[in-house]
Each structure stands twice: as C-alpha cells, then as structure tokens.
C-alpha cells in the first residue's frame, strides 16, 4: 500500500453535500449524486495511506481535512489524438490565399 509522509504533496476528497441535502432546483441526474470536493496540499499527519482521514495544509496555509485519495497527484492533460477533421483546414485556406495573390 502506498504511503505518504508528513510534508508530501497529496490530494484529499470530501463530500460537501449528500444527495439528499442538495439544492431543490437541480436536474434529476445531478440531484441523485453528492456534491464532492477535491483539494491538493501538503500532508500534516506524520504518515498516512490511501483512504485514511487526514489533514493537509494548502499552498496558502489553510488546513483542510478529508480522505486521502492521491499521493503526488499530477495533472493528466495533453494534446489528445490527431484530429483528422482539423488537419486539412490550413492547406485548404492556403490554397485559397494563393489564388488571391
């Protein structure tokens, strides 16, 4: 089991509102799920493993409690796959420009 030590950069999770505590005016699919929160910060507890209830200190120094869900969380973003619907656009426009010179 992965363990985090005091000072490690981690991510925690909290339920803010259970499904039955949510606002009245919501679409059905939103009303039947809880409102959830994720926050990243530095572990205050000496040691913890995933799913433990822990406290973190955020970048600005606030302390927040929650369930440990990730250790050294990263941001998984990229440029996706080649989008063949976009690829021809540049060459089509350049052809039009050549004709206008």
């Amino acid at each position: 089991m992965k363990k985090a030590k005091k000072g490690d950069y981690v991510q925690i999770h909290n339920i803010i509102l259970e499904a039955d505590e949510r606002s009245e005016n919501l679409p059905e699919e939103t009303k039947k799920v809880p409102l959830e929160l994720k926050v990243r910060g530095f572990l205050i507890d000496d040691e913890a493993q995933l799913n433990d209830q822990v406290t973190i200190e955020t970048y600005i120094g606030r302390k927040i409690e929650g369930k440990l869900i990730d250790i050294s969380p990263t941001y998984v973003i990229d440029y996706g796959e080649v989008v063949k619907e976009l690829l021809p656009i540049g060459r089509e426009l350049k052809k039009m420009l050549e004709g206008s010179e």
């Binding site: 699919e29 929160l37 976009l86 656009i89 420009l97």
Partner: protein
C-alpha cells in the same frame, strides 16, 4: 463559533457575508421601487480610468498589442460580395500575465482588497479568472483561494478545465475543485465566512472598471493605426462583464458610434447544472448557457447588484457553433501564425462572418484572445468530445446539435454568425424585472430605470408592460 453551517443556514446569511466580503453596502444605490442607480454604484466604488491604468501598470496588465489579421481578411473578401469584407483586427489579450483579459478584472479587485486590509481573495470561476486572481494576488502578497467546478460524478473533467485548475495552482493558489452543481455558491460563502477574505467577484464595479481600459486602449490603438475608430467591436459574451467594461471604455475614448456586437457559442439544449451534460460540451465559458441568462437577468450573480450589465450596451447579439470556433482557431494558427485558446476565439468566428457584411474600408475589432496549451486546445478538446460519444465531422455547421455533434465547417464560407432577437431578449429582461419584484403597477421613476437599463425608449417599455398587463 457554533454557527449553523448547513446549506440552508449558510445561504440565508448570503447578504451579511457578502457585505463584509465585498465591503459595499448596495442598499445605498437602491431607488424606491424596482430600480437602482447604476452610474452612482460605478462611480462611488469604482476607480477612474487613470487610477485603473496606474493599478494595471503596477500589475503588468494591459497595453496588449493589436494585430491586423490580413490573411483572414483576404479569405473573408474572397467569400464576400464585391466591395465587402472589413479589415479584421485582433487585440491580443493572451499577452496579459495570466494569459487572458481577466487579468484586467482581477488587478483592480486585488488592489482594492489589499488597500482595504483583506489578507486574501476568493473567486469562483471556470478558470481563466482564477488564474488571473491568483497571478495578481501573488504580485501583491495576498492569499488566493479559487473555487472551480471541475468534475462530473464519475470524476471526469474537461481537459480545458483541468488545465485552468492547474494554472491557478501554478500561481500558488488553493484550488477547491468541485463536482457539478450550482451549490458551488454554498462552498464559496462558507469559505468567505471562514477566512474573512475579499470576494473578488467578477461582478463588482472593481472588476468591470478593470475592463474599461481594454475598450479604451483598443479604440485609441485603432485610431492611431488607421486614423479612425472601429465601426464594430465583437466581444465574446458570458456573464456580461467583458462586454460591459469594453463598451464603457470605448465610450470613454469618445468612440460613441462604434457598434458593440456580443458573440456566444451556441450550447442551446444543454443544461448547465446537469451532471450528464457537463462533459458533453466543449466550451466551459463564452457560451449561451451563461450569455443569455446573465443578459436577461444580470443580478443572478454573486453580488446583490451586478456591475456587468450587457443589456445596457449591446447593439447586436450573435451565436456561432462549437465547430465554427474550432475551425477559426485552427485557421488563426495556420494562416495568421497566432496560436490561441479556443474559447476566446468565439468572437473571431463571428467576426469572420460579420466582416463579410461590411464594406472593405470599414474596421472590425475582435477584442480578446486567451492562452492555449495542453488540454486547452482544439485537439485535446475534440479528442475528449469523441471519447464522450460526441460525433465530430466536417460538414454544415448549421446541422450541429450541442451535446450530440460538433460539425467543423467543410468550407470557410459556411461560417455564419446567427443573429439572436435582441428585442425579444430586452422584453424578456423587462418580464423578469416585473416577476422578480412582483408588481402590477410601475411609477414614472421605475419607467425611467427600465428605459435606461434596456437602452430603449418610453414607447417600447410601455408596450412591453401592456402585453404583461402592468400599469404605468
């Protein structure tokens, strides 16, 4: 403490929390009856243009370059009737420190917060504004907290919004990332109450005054470059602040004849609070899901009276499709050599179409761009759309169904901005004023307010009220 922190209890303390967190007593601007004194609010709590310019210089904000898009103009002229095809200019707001025009809004709020002794600033945002607040806050030594709607109930988020969250954190912000739902506002109020930080709302006079420099600069820059003010300026519209501030700045430069055109991405049919629809849209701002509700009811924002009142300033409102914006984003990179984020190019897509209605010697300005990068990029967003079951293909963008398909135009001639009925939108605003205030009779003072608010005349307002059986 022992305060009741339940949803109902916190929401019921909204007014007292906001009064402390914004430092404005909004009741002083209220008229007897339904209206309020908008200009008094802007003057009393805002800063004048010269002060804003100074604040923004200190924050490295503004003075962004203006480029003429000569190749896109050439293509537009090829598609337009003989003699048509205005010169298209672009104000490159991506060159602000946090990569978007939102730095202008944030700079004034953060300055004001610091001056009034607040230790930190809190903002609720889809991301560009959060990055702007965080960026300006670190410059002035304040602590930023950003609250962002990021995930659906499966934990999945749009690559664009994940990137914007990353950027907020990159500037040392605490980022509270929430699943879908308007109760984000509850978390927002709780945080304000817990921290006593400043509410760096997008909708205070500070935020809007910060955008006035954008309009002022572009009017001046275009006059310097071309010898005249632009005939039209196109603004991507969501909450209305970008348009309001820009239009006010243009007026302050003396360009009173410049037409202000709002543009939003058409997301009709998608519910903004739906856990299911959340990841079926490729635009998280600049779309009709914010644009229309905020136009017809500006006071739905997080302050009692919003300073963002696009209804007062727009002359025309058009929509474009997601596919059209992705097309123009690719075109901007491929033939202008300028790679910028997709959402900010909403107004560019509209401009490419509207330029073709205008004369060749006329000038059209696209007033913003935003940064681009991993996640916040057409290829990332279209890949995500495909994985969520959205059909992506080339063809006629008029056939696009938000949430089901994204149609990249198969030729640039198919990019066609679609006009919304502004008269109908103004009537809808009047109707909402009447419903909200639960009145069946209006005073002359109320009439004056509605005429000013909708930028119409006595006859128009009276006729609209007659249709609703409201007496004057």
């Amino acid at each position: 403490m022992g305060k009741d922190m339940s949803y109902e209890a916190v929401m019921s303390r909204n007014n007292e929390i906001m009064k402390k967190a914004v430092g404005i007593d909004y009741t002083q601007f209220e008229y007897d009856g339904i209206g309020f004194n908008y200009e008094k609010m802007m003057n009393k709590t805002g800063y004048d243009l010269n002060e804003i310019i100074k604040i923004q210089e200190e924050g490295d904000v503004g003075n962004t370059p203006v480029y003429e898009l000569k190749n896109l103009t050439k293509i537009a002229r090829k598609l337009a009737p003989e003699g048509k095809g205005a010169r298209i200019f672009l104000k490159d707001e991506a060159s602000n420190p946090s990569g978007s025009f939102k730095a202008r809004r944030a700079s004034v709020s953060v300055y004001h917060a610091k001056k009034n002794g607040y230790k930190g600033v809190v903002a609720a945002t889809s991301g560009n504004y959060g990055a702007a607040v965080a960026s300006q806050a670190v410059k002035r030594g304040l602590k930023p907290i950003i609250i962002q709607e990021v995930y659906d109930s499966t934990g999945a988020g749009q690559p664009e919004i994940i990137e914007k969250g990353r950027k907020c954190e990159a500037y040392g912000s605490e980022v509270l990332q929430l699943s879908v739902g308007p109760e984000l506002f509850y978390t927002f109020l709780k945080v304000l109450e817990e921290t006593d930080y400043f509410n760096a709302s997008l909708y205070t006079p500070f935020g809007i005054a910060g955008v006035e420099t954008l309009g002022y600069e572009l009017a001046e820059e275009i006059r310097e470059k071309t010898g005249k003010f632009p005939e039209k300026v196109i603004v991507t519209n969501a909450g209305g602040g970008n348009l309001t501030g820009t239009a006010r700045g243009i007026n302050k430069a003396g360009a009173e004849d410049t037409e202000i055109v709002a543009a939003s991405v058409d997301l009709s049919g998608l519910h903004m609070a739906s856990d299911k629809d959340f990841n079926r849209k490729s635009f998280t701002t600049g779309h009709t899901g914010f644009g229309i509700p905020f136009l017809t009811w500006p006071d739905r924002s997080d302050v009692p009276r919003s300073a963002a009142r696009a209804i007062r300033y727009l002359d025309r409102y058009v929509t474009v499709t997601q596919g059209e914006v992705f097309y123009i984003t690719e075109a901007l990179a491929q033939i202008e050599g300028i790679e910028r984020g997709p959402a900010g190019n909403t107004s560019l897509a509209a401009a490419f179409s509207i330029a073709q209605e205008m004369d060749e010697d006329e000038i059209l300005v696209v007033q913003e761009t935003e940064y681009t990068g991993a996640g916040k990029h057409p290829t990332a967003q279209l890949t995500f759309a495909k994985k969520n079951g959205i059909e992506v293909k080339r063809g006629n963008p008029r056939k696009e169904i938000p949430g089901k398909s994204i149609i990249i135009p198969d030729s640039p001639g198919k990019i066609k901005a679609q006009d919304l009925d502004v008269v109908k939108l103004k009537k809808s605003h009047i109707k909402k004023i009447i419903e909200f205030n639960k009145v069946d009779k209006l005073s002359e003072k109320d009439m004056e307010y509605i005429i000013e608010e909708t930028n119409t005349d006595y006859e128009f307002v009276k006729d609209t009220l007659n249709e609703m059986n409201v007496e004057v």
